[in-house]
Amino acid sequence: MVAMTKVRMGVMKSEQSALQVRGLTKRFDRLAVDALDLTVRAGEYYALVGPNGAGKTTTLRMVAGLLKPDAGSVAIFGIDALSDPVAAKQMMAWVSDEPMIYDKLTPMEYLEFVAGLWGIDPAVSRKSAHELLASLGLEPHLDERCEGFSKGMRQKVALAGALVHEPRLIILDEPLTGLDAVSARHVKGLLGNRVRAGCTVIMTTHILEVAERMADRIGVIAAGRLVAEGTLAELRQQNGHTDTSLEDLFIALVDVEPAAA
């Protein structure tokens, strides 16, 4: 009974967090993620930035259940993603930087398949799939197989697949890579709308301008650790600059970090 109360309290406490990561560690040949703590609030647009090899993708792959951490915990809306991965996955979607879709399926079939995997009512998913593909400019290609699609089109299909089951948490790894300006605007608009509707978005990006303009909070990761976090104003304040761009802040943070480590 005591144990149950504790569990319930734990769930209650973390209900405000879409993602709560504690002591997350992963080692390959070297330490990729080093006892990372990270909290993302529900309904927040969070950008994770960092230099190449900093551990951004590894962190998010562990959160999405694609990699097993060596140590630490991951909670998605209070659900322990390591002990109950199915329940955690039901609430989130993962979009890789390299769009992985089936060449021999049409976008519509792909979305219906994804909806089937998440157990969505076909009548609902059909309508939502159609709307999503139309909003991403893929309507003329609904019934064409994906094998001839450009990278940008494939990325849009993958993104639509991530959104079709109405996830509460969307995790995206470099979602704008390979997209033209119009497509990028479509995607940014779509993600913005989702956040306004109460969805939580976490994304990694190399385009600091995107993080600066779109994210509510920004986390800077270097050598597998979170070296700074906050809104742009908070980051500026933490570093004693009042009128600095994110790019300058980023360079200052990731340059200092190796020496500090």
């Binding site: 999405a64 021999k104 079939e109 157990g119 019934d143 001839g148």
Partner: protein, 508 residues
Amino acid sequence: MSSALALTWFARHELRLAWREWLAMMTGGRRKRKRAAVIGLVVFAAFLHIPAWAVIGRFADLQLPLDKSSLIVITATILLAWALMLSQAIESVTRVFYARADLDLIMSSPVRLANVFSIRIAAIALSITVMALLLSTPFVDVLAIGGGVRWLSAFGVVIAIGLTAAALAIAATIVLFRLIGPARTRLVAQILAAIIGAGFVIALQVAAILSYGTLSRFAVLTSDAAAAIAPGIDSIVWWPARAALGDGEALLLLLSFGLVLLGAVMAIFSGRFADTAVSASAQAGSGRQGTRAKAFLGGSRQQALRRKEFVLLRRDPWLISQTLMQLLYLVPPALLLWRSFADSSQAIVLITPVVVMAAGQLAGGLAWLTISGEDAADLVATAPLPASRVIRAKIEVVLIAIGVVFAPLVLALGFASPSQAAATAIGVVVGAASATSIQLWFRAQAKRSQFRRRQTSSRLATFAEAFSSIGWAATAALALAVPVAAIISGVMTAGLLAATWKFSPRQG
């Protein structure tokens, strides 16, 4: 750079690519294994001399002039080798059109495309001929050791038929492009390659069954009827056989014919090669209208997975050609079955191992495609269902597909011999389950398009899959003839599977 120099440079580039591709195939893409691959290849080539001796050692003493039956057997053997080379060449040409990543680079470069593609055509011919020479070496060695150096001229025959096979493959593929367009050519060429590769042997077997009620091809080749309809011993038809036996004049004519044919194909088609490549890449870039599938609506999550696998399998050109080939191999035993209703031939027993073997092989390929060849691995891994249920759904797909292909044959067998049908059914299930298990133990994430190279990821899995299919085929056949021997064969095959499982990498 002068034109000749540029062509030499491009020829070197092509040879280097071909060499590295071959090496990657041998080493599984691991450069450190180069020495081990070379040693393995030498040992394998040395080992091949034993079966080569057993198969053709007795023909080493053959001398010209030969009787018609001997000429027919040798010519048929050369024709079989040529059919296999032609099949391989069609595959290579299709791959050049659809899968070579450097076509954009080459076609945007300031070189004369006709020249560059002439070299590419020559490179295809060379790689096919070299591979055929390597494979034929143990057989020619055995003949040369047993019958003298005159047999070395067989190497010349291999070169000549390699050149003609490459030339015909290129011409056929480009003609197909013109006739049916790039979209259909890929599928048709793959099916054609499968049919040509298997067709010759199957046609001989069908003739043997219809005429003599046996699966032996030699029954037809050495028959009086074949000798009666064959042309006279001076005919041009016997040139390849005479050349292989050391007739210098025939060899020279054959080589000249091969070179002239390849030269003509290069002259006629090298310009069109570029157009064809452009059409193929344009086709790859355009969306193909899919038939509207209602397959994904409704049902459980596993059903969604199973339906997805079935749709992808149905749309896979490799699988269509491979299944067609398996079905073609089943034509002779099916024919034997049909004939056995008319007489009480014991040859019907031969159906069981053929069916079991085919089921194991097809299941191995299907299992790789469904389990390892997952193009959206991240999507499936992040879906809210346990990994065990994903795997189960994929295994179900393999077993259902095997059931659909083989159940009709087993049912037909049931009318002729219920006990044999039961043994065959058990063999099919066990063979398919074993091949699927091996693919499961050695699963490694890959793209479906990498299917052609699946063997390179694990040699152990490849050999285990082949020996398991052979083992269960033998066990099923022995169960009908010598049940005690079947127990021994079954235990040995199960032991092989256990050892394979023991050595398989741990799956997370």
